[in-house]
Symmetry: D4
Subunit: 222 residues, 8 copies
């Protein structure tokens, strides 16, 4: 595995950590197992925390043969090599989701936070059709510095949540649903129109991006 091979398809940005506050991560969807493994090895050899998202089970199997210490979460599709030394977490993030079908996206967010050294808690099954489930968790939600709210279908969870807390709420629409859910467009639009002020939104199914946004926000505390 020579470095010259790597340079033929990627130009790693080791400086991003200093510039943007987090290392370069690997979007695995359009890469071969060989490419992902090569980049992960390279990043790990520089002591960076390593995370690849959207890794298929097939690719994961091949990569784990070369990088047996990596950790694969099949539901989330993430493959991680945790960083060497862990600093104290700069804050605490709660990742909540509406239904079991939203779990993969919620766990992509949670796993990204973990690799970045951010303390996090994942609270599933908070759908607004059973308000008591959300309200019974309110105490725990109010202890978080940031809430990442993941939901498909009508995407109402972030609005309801943001009306109950004062911390930042990052809304993640998911492609869960059918018909008029339009592969997540409906949830996305709904979240952008939240009647609760100050909700911000990321792309559909982008648990990773929501976690990165949380990392940026926790820089404020520095």
């Amino acid at each position: 595995m020579k470095k010259t091979d790597l340079s033929s398809f990627a130009e790693l940005d080791f400086d991003r950590d200093r510039r943007c506050g987090f290392a370069e991560f690997i979007y695995g969807a359009s890469k071969t197992a060989e490419q992902i493994a090569m980049i992960m090895a390279e990043l790990a050899s520089h002591g960076k925390p390593v995370l690849a998202t959207r890794v298929s089970p097939d690719n994961a199997r091949k990569i784990l043969k070369k990088l047996p210490h990596a950790e694969y979460d099949e539901l989330a599709g993430t493959l991680a090599i945790p960083g060497k030394k862990k600093k104290k977490s700069p804050g605490k993030v709660a990742v909540i989701c509406a239904g079991t079908s939203d779990l993969p996206v919620a766990r992509e967010a949670a796993n990204t936070l973990t690799v970045c050294g951010i303390e996090n808690i994942l609270i599933p099954d908070c759908g607004v059709a059973g308000l008591h489930r959300l309200i019974s968790k309110l105490e725990r939600l109010r202890q978080a510095d940031i809430i990442i709210a993941v939901a498909g279908m009508e995407g109402a969870l972030p609005s309801v949540t943001a009306g109950l807390v004062e911390c930042p709420v990052i809304a993640v629409p998911t492609s869960v649903g059918y018909g008029a859910s339009l592969h997540g467009i409906t949830a996305l639009l709904a979240m952008l129109n939240s009647c609760a002020s100050g909700v911000t939104v990321v792309n559909i199914d982008n648990g990773f991006g929501a976690a990165c946004a949380a990392v940026r926000m926790l820089k404020i505390r520095r």
Copy 2:
């Protein structure tokens, strides 16, 4: 005002009452004051309850000169001549709405119900960003046979409501909002994807249609 005039632009359906359970109403948006007045007079002379929707203030003023006993609700844009003898209401409908901007649509629904002889109550300001406002009204909501839930923006009100009650919830999206609300399309899509089972939906801003649906539903009790 001769009947032959009327027949040149409309063919009234006096039988609809028997066939569909409610009289023919007048969609005022694309008619002149003269046309609306003529149809209202004709329907009233048959002892029918009379309702015109989407009547502009200008048109209302002209019509009221000819039909001074009609009642105009400027906010809702409805012009009504209540029927002669009132039967006992077959049931009770609660019309709730998310914000003050949704009031015109909610009142179009309420006024239509009133003309049809249905007891109704209008409860504004139930937006999900302040859940306590909705929950404090829960007792009253549970006394209704049917709830018409009117909301714009992210349109989450029907989902949250339907999770709390067992009666029919008719969702009415409104065009309230801007940008990604897409003139009500977002609320419409969200309501169609409600995670609370059994919510049904009507067209954007169609308070009238929601009331008609309630009239149909109350026939079940007959």
Copy 3:
């Protein structure tokens, strides 16, 4: 099959029956055979009627090994365990559909009603391009308390039907069609714009939701 396993991916809502008028059902599209079987067993053990929708033949085969008394309707994709004691049906629902391609959705509606203990009749092949087929069934339609009208393509069936009856008409658009049918969006939009007053609409292919709406409506008679 331990209960602790179940709690790791789902939080069943045994109270929903009392709160919303019907039990929690299982959306099978994004669940494994094991998950579906586990939830069905748990719900059945509480004496609840059990219904899973969108169950693939493969999953059904696996589940039926564990729950041999369940009934699978391959066309509809539903897997049901009827409730123990049947109360008298609170009313009668007619499910009509336009063409044979709409049958799966119509049967999802009918099967849901059956599990809920609602008497129902399914009348296929009522497409508006052959009006005589619909009109010849008018007598039967007028005996129903509620009509669920299922149609793809141009989705005209609910409008035509609602002009002929006074009971509630619940319109279910289907994804049947190609090209400009836009996977059911066209039928959905058409139904929302029905020129017959009081038609309400559910999501594309959502036979289950239409049945739930009928269940809610029949509470009015209680």
Copy 4:
């Protein structure tokens, strides 16, 4: 009014009559009263039938001062100078429309046919929510060589009609409606997905185009 003026903004196609079977008509929406008047005068001086569509009342008033023998239909927005000698009509076209709001488009079609020397009849108020209105006119419809069916909202009229007759049915969606009618897109999509075979469709509000299509079709009989 010099011919050189005319040539600065338009290049009339006097040969189109021979090539395409009908004269060049004037789309008045984006032209000044002066331009429309000049083209009309020029065409009339060549003995051509003359028709301008989408002429505003203001423009019509100015043009009528210069061309007092022209006939203006304010509802349709058409301004016509009938051709000198009338040949026998090559056939008969029925223009039907769903509601009074669709009348302007239906009359644009009828007026275009008249200018082209085609016998035609306009039958309003055939909306499918009151089937008896359509069915009572069936005899007259079956005497037509071609039916132009004009409808907004859910656009179901052409489907229902085409299931009852064997002649060509040209569907014209209108922008009548609100909310999810999407300015006529819904009616357009519905008509393209007609379950009745052999319906063809023109652009939204394009009564003129439907009439031109009928003119082309009647060439078949030549």
Copy 5:
């Protein structure tokens, strides 16, 4: 193969021929080989011309074992049993298409015409990027009573053609293309906006529907 089986999933409309001018055809996309074969046999036994569209090669193979005299066109996906006695064709239709990728749709149209006993000619490769190819065929086009113009991508063929002939031009958009062709929506929209008057349009890839429209038009000559 008992008739009772057939009635469980279809209600054949033997009267359509008289009512609408052509027999009931079979949309094969959502039917099993068994269902298609059963309906074809039934229709053939009544002496009707028989056509099934969108039949997959797999289904065709199975059906041909039962109905060996049927003719399968794999490119078009049509399976036909020509009618017994052929009347003289009431006219002549030219089917033209823009590129080789549009051929399947063009042949679906041509095969439908053939089954209906209409003389037709298929002229491929008339794309407007090489105008000489279209213009060199103009003589043949002018001999047709009707032209069916099939095109994907920017869908300009019907406009250019209709500017050159006086007969009806039926435009069929195809789903040929990628990216911004939006699976045929672009061609469809373009055709609806044709600057050549009197073009009518059918659904995307609907060669069958265009042929049916031609059958309707040729009734004019009767």
Copy 6:
């Protein structure tokens, strides 16, 4: 101006400050001058900071007669009554925008921050077509705790900015542009697809919402 009047159209939420971290603000777009003035007076009498957004010049003039100490920014459409005592700002926000046409939205954000007691700086004319303009301001940008990046047209500013800084970047698409800008949808979609990780997005033209999100984020530092 009696309090009973106010309660007829609004139910003020004086507790929101404690619950969500900022006071209730007034969305002026769908309210009369009288309504806005009444709510502003009521909120001010409770010592709350007061802000109304989307106030037209006409309405502003009327309100300023009643509340002469309010401050109107015509470009932004905001009307503010600053709170009594100012606490030290919890952080510093930079509001940048691409072109002069984006200024109204940028100032709505800045004015909202000011009313909330947040130190802020507005830096216009940072469009990516002249990168030197953005890069020359990099030092100032890196001193901010949060950047609100406002842009219409292709909406590239947040991506480019987020690649240069480590703090949170809140993207605000504007409706500036024409044609394929689709009233801001293009900028919105582009921002949601930012190749720079961790950008979050609010609704089109929602400068107010972006400011509220910043207020939430600065709670992290508490």
Copy 7:
């Protein structure tokens, strides 16, 4: 008119000429007459060619009082101050358009070219529904180095043209049309799907941008 005033709303980019090959132009749509006049004066004082686009007649009148030597083209909405000394044109551009309604956009392109010192010719009325009009101009078109093809409705002109010439064809969709023209989206999509290879496209109604693209292309000859 002090320079400090100007700097409060704009930061002129005098270096763009050297960097991008053409001076900064003024997009007049969202600016006041005062702002436009101030920027025009400033640019003119630096000896730059000056062009403002989308200037309303009202604004033009006010500006012309201050800058009487500017030239206003009301149809195109452009206001220009030609540069002092004219270099020889680096090439020749033909601007063609489909109908008279497309003229404003075509002239915006032509006027922009003129200000940039590019020789150009405007050829109107080349719509593809009358091919002879385009073909009769072919000789002139083949003498151009670049063709800018402007069309609304179905937008077929660039495809047909590009099949006849070997020079670059820049396609400009216009918002001319109604209904399914979707304000120019249809023409835009059609042009992007041109079956003639090598056509490039700019935004709807963006005659200015097409001219700028031509300026860039003529740099190739330098």
Copy 8:
């Protein structure tokens, strides 16, 4: 392989070279290996440069058996037979792309240029989230006569690039991305709204078309 076979599905346009400046190329997506091989052989026998795009690995393998001297680029999907004698390149084109996922489209462009005898250079990994990567390549970019800028997601690369150079920039949106990238529609829309003047755009993933546009532009130098 007889010529008569070929004529049954294609009518090659050997004159296109002279008329449009480049030979007919083969769009391989909807053709069989046999068809592609036959056309390639025929074109090669006329001494034309030969290029087939969108050739699947399976098809390529079959074709290479018949045409072993062809060169296949699996990533780009192109299969080429370079022309016999190479003239001096008329200019130099730089193809840049944002990320590794955009490489297939970029290489389709580069390979097309190579077959056309145009000198070109491919520069990957210029994404705007790491501006230093683009800026470090500025010197090389400024030596190009034309830049083809390929990008998915938010599609900002062409805008940023065009602000830095004076040569033509051809923007190619790619379908890289997920969720709100809408299969490339977002990048396409963003590029059409570029704030940098004079950017032109081709269809999504259309590297081939961008290269053809460059070929046309380089004719200007002739």
